[in-house]
Symmetry: C2
């Protein structure tokens, strides 16, 4: 026993040194995105010895009492952070938002009904296309004509639709829905890239889903939050794996879950809870976004790519006013250990993803590079 | 740079000591199951610093060149180990075998056709039930009447079926199909619990799938091997995520893959390749199974639960001849740090899962306990 403890302690200390090393990389990746350093340490430890079992989390039964406690806590911490009532079920699934694009209509779209979609980006378009494979859809608003550089507003929501589908944050374009529509029909939201980043009232929603890998954990886990009274009404025959009900009934263990990914989600959300929960995250995220957008607006060498009022606090997109300086700017980014800033090919330029785990210090490093670049260009 | 190297070295050494520690747990879990100690070390390192990027594998883009190289290798090592021809595509998916139960009929079962199924256990039954949601099935053989204690044989395979579905190894019951049927129609096989454990001719199969978590990696990744000419013929409208084609066309990255799980599969399969590939694994697995089954047969306090000729080399199921001694035996197992030996509730008794990564030394520990138990019982 003592020998065990000593080795574990050494392991932790060694890993602990890592985050203070001078070579720190500033991770602006759009997703999978940055996770807290302490979570990564806990994850690495679990990959060697989970909960003192002497076995790795990668090789233990998902039915072990240690893991059942972890996945239960992964669902509970979601409830606590979002203040969910008992009207809602929380489940971890697989397949990412892409599989949710089909699960949502299988569960909520009646064969004789139709679903309303707001088209605010490529992912919203894909969600619509998958629903169209199963039934009727109506796109009630779109910003496609402007390359999705703004969030559609002021549309009428039909009261006879089976649901209204929206995307809260459009990672590619850097736009974010600041106010959610008052919907007469169940509101379904893809929150993959901004869940847990700001305070909202969950009772506005019928169903929320999110691929974990942008703001709440690693790839391989998908979160769904479902108002229970909406289930069982589509009347569809569907694959059991695409039916929310058995996943809910079995506590996210209808089949073997994505064990490690769900555990790292739990660690990440517990980290968020220790650090003030969603309200504090929102304050930090606003400060990071303000710091960066103020520089984009002030610095004449850069300009933002989307409507100011719709700018995302998670993904800031911008371009150089003179693209011929791109190589110089990118060398400076590289020298400053700034990683993952390349914009999506459909927008170009740069995209700084500043998810919950991104410290403001890293945003400051980027802003400093932008300022230095301006001085050098003089 | 030097500081970096020193820390990394310290990390590796510290982790390295782990596997030689006296408290070693013998992991007989049925799945998720045992993984090689060196793979767990590599996985833990990648969770801190992947490929020297200074970032965790849990927080980097799946489109980064470092990860694209890893997932490509994860597919390539499958090709090398199984000697797959170019007629076959290899993909990593999500959702486990349970989602394959639906993907198979979506892709291969014509609305006007039917599929043949061999019912050799609970998972085979579930596979059939999911296919029945989409079309017609015919169960051409079953061992359900004997609680699946043997593998059905000697059945006729209809030549007009769209495919024949079999399960190569039945984890719960400890049975294994020793010879695969000569099928006039495409042979589809759930190999979740014995893929890479023994040599077979892949050209016998139309489609092979496997949840990774039993013999090739952690939970969260699913392998599919598909003869390409079989695709595109079911004529079905299906969710894009359930269509093999886009996953194949996009190199397992139609959407964000289960990044970490696929990487650990790659590590596990590279470990297998370094250790002689599938032929050497088969030799080791046979030796482990012989050691254990010989003791089960020799020791009067135990008896096997399934037909001798169908006994699995992956999961050995057995019971006490006198159940009243269970508490004593289980205390001895615990004292020997033997974990995960409890049998599935539908069979009872004990199940020793002795997957590829299980060293024969751990099997010997179990056999020694069985011998000691016999001596103590006199």
């Amino acid at each position: 026993m003592p020998q065990w403890v000593v080795v574990q302690y050494g392991f932790r200390v060694t890993l602990g040194q890592f985050q203070f090393m001078p070579m720190k990389v500033h991770n602006f990746s759009a997703g999978p995105g940055i996770l807290p350093a302490e979570v990564l340490q806990q994850a690495a430890e679990a990959a060697i010895n989970f909960k003192g079992m002497g076995l790795s989390l990668l090789e233990i039964s998902h039915r072990s009492k240690e893991y059942v406690a972890a996945i239960d806590e992964a669902m509970d911490v979601v409830r606590r952070l979002l203040h969910l009532s008992d009207d809602y079920a929380v489940v971890y699934l697989q397949g990412g938002a892409s599989l949710q694009f089909s699960m949502v209509p299988f569960n909520l779209l009646r064969p004789e009904g139709y679903a309303a979609y707001v088209n605010s980006g490529v992912w919203a378009t894909k969600a619509t296309q998958e629903a169209e494979k199963l039934g009727k859809t109506k796109v009630i608003a779109s910003s496609k004509d402007a390359n999705f550089s703004y969030v559609p507003k002021g549309y009428d929501i039909p009261s006879d639709a089976d649901y209204l589908h929206i995307t809260s944050n459009n990672t590619i374009y850097g736009t974010q829905m600041k106010d959610f529509p008052q919907s007469p029909v169940p509101l379904v939201c893809d929150m993959s890239s901004d869940i847990f980043s700001r305070v909202f009232d969950p009772n506005q929603f019928g169903l929320i889903y999110a691929g974990a890998q942008k703001n709440m954990g690693p790839a391989g886990a998908t979160l769904a939050i479902i108002r229970k009274d909406l289930l069982g009404k589509s009347g569809r025959n569907m694959p059991t794996m695409l039916n929310y009900a058995p996943h809910i009934e079995n506590g996210s263990m209808y089949n073997t879950p994505s064990v490690f990914s769900v555990y790292v989600c739990m660690l990440t959300l517990q980290w968020l809870e220790r650090n003030g929960g969603v309200p504090a995250a929102e304050t930090r995220n606003r400060a990071k976004a303000d710091l960066l957008y103020n520089e984009i607006d002030r610095n004449g060498l850069f300009k933002g790519t989307c409507a100011t009022e719709d700018r995302s606090d998670m993904n800031a997109t911008f371009v150089l006013t003179d693209e011929s300086h791109a190589a110089d700017f990118e060398k400076m980014l590289k020298d400053a250990n700034i990683s993952g800033l390349k914009g999506h090919r459909s927008v170009g330029g740069y995209r700084a993803s500043i998810y919950n785990a991104m410290p403001i210090e890293s945003v400051q490093v980027l802003v400093d590079v932008m300022k230095t670049f301006e001085k050098q260009r003089g």
